[in-house]
Amino acid sequence: MNDFTTWDILRNLLLAARWTVLLSIVSFVGGSLVGVALLFARIGKGRLGPAFARTYIELFQGTPLLMQLFLAFFGLGLFGIDVPAWLAAAVALILWTAAFLAEIWRGCVESVAKGQWEASSSLGMGYLQQMRWVILPQALRVAVPPTVGFSVQVVKGTALTSIIGFVELSKAGTMVTNATFEPFTVYGFVALIYFCLCWPLSKSSQILERKLNVAHRNH
């Protein structure tokens, strides 16, 4: 009494995987934008900016993503809006991604030798000029591999949005399982699709790391 062929299972999962991909891209792009703002707050000169950014990062890195999703889902609802699952998912994932990216990038900026700051400041450059022409171009080379590597965590993070009811790959897996009673096949395929999404990212992160190998060039 099971009309699902293996192809039907795979086709439905692949259709749902589009939403995983879309949510991953939205989270990564949005997270990068918020992350850059956080980065500047974190490495800035003032007192309030770094303190805020440090607290933000500690809060988001010290609590489960699942809880952040729940809080976004129910917290946005407190304002009287009817929150669709995709909105809560996107908001939570963007804020979560931003915390990690800001911290990764901070490490990259700090890896730029101190002499570079001094040299550029002795040339009479202002803070923004130093950032734009001296520090960020060097930090960017260091930042590429770990950033690509973190995108894998974002793709995997989207799986948790199924719990607040966003229909992506994982949720589709549960739904197809409930229809077919073939959890082994279905979750096997789900894992395989995730693997096909994540593995190229992991691999390119490794290759980039070897190619750019900037982290060890200065020593």
Binding site: G62, P64, F79, V186
Partner: protein
């Protein structure tokens, strides 16, 4: 926003939360100890193990690191019974955490082992130590010391990730929060409280692991 926050439910439901915290701590403890052990074994296999074992361990590590924990959990709990491997929700949650931490731990520990200078192996051998002895005393302990901060963060990440085990009805802290909010309809307050507890657990766990590092590796030389 005219919503009155109400934490009054805490008075009635704190034992439920406490039980959930207990399960989360237990899962983290078992998952941490066994996961790190598995990580050490896999790191040994990848660096010094026999040739046929290396690709198998590499495949395991890649597979786990490139799929979400939630799916690993579902596969173990819902998928494996099809192969006749049926287990309760707590053992399944534990197994998933061990397998997950094992893969990440393997990569972290491997980095530590590979940073060991070649001469250390030779020095060990010249003292008449067996390969196993050399690995254990000469290679592993300094390697663990080197990567302890990274390993500690990974253990904290696994603890936070364990929130997902509520989805297979393992009664951890998140499960407790789900239960409470379904009774009280105070979803935001409940998850807020649970989030704060997770934050506290993460901070305490990080400090404990740092302390543990200081005790296991006493000869910490400042360079």
């Amino acid at each position: 926003m005219n919503y009155a926050f109400d934490f009054g439910w805490l008075a009635d439901y704190w034992p439920v939360l406490l039980k959930g915290i207990g399960i989360t701590v237990e899962l983290t403890l078992v998952g941490g100890v066994l996961g790190v052990s598995l990580g050490i074994a896999c790191a040994w296999a990848r660096v010094l193990g026999p040739g046929w074992l290396k690709p198998i361990v590499a495949a395991y590590v890649e597979m786990i690191r490139n799929t979400p924990f939630l799916i690993q959990l579902f596969f173990i709990f819902f998928g494996l019974p099809a192969l006749g491997l049926r287990m309760g929700e707590l053992p399944a949650a534990n197994l998933a955490m061990v397998i997950n931490l094992g893969a990440y731990g393997c990569e972290i520990i491997r980095a530590g082992i590979q940073a060991t200078p070649r001469g250390q192996f030779e020095a060990g051998a010249s003292l008449g130590m067996s390969r196993i002895q050399t690995f254990w005393y000469v290679v592993l302990v300094p390697a663990l010391q080197r990567i302890w901060p990274a390993l500690s963060s990974q253990i904290v990440i696994v603890m936070l990730g364990s929130a997902a085990v509520s989805q297979i009805a393992a009664e951890d802290l998140t499960f407790a929060a789900n239960f409470i909010q379904s009774r009280t309809f105070r979803a935001f307050e409940t998850y807020f409280a649970a989030t704060l507890i997770y934050l506290a657990l993460a901070i305490v766990l990080r400090q404990l692991l740092r302390g543990l590092g200081w005790t296991i590796f006493p000869r910490r030389t400042a360079r």
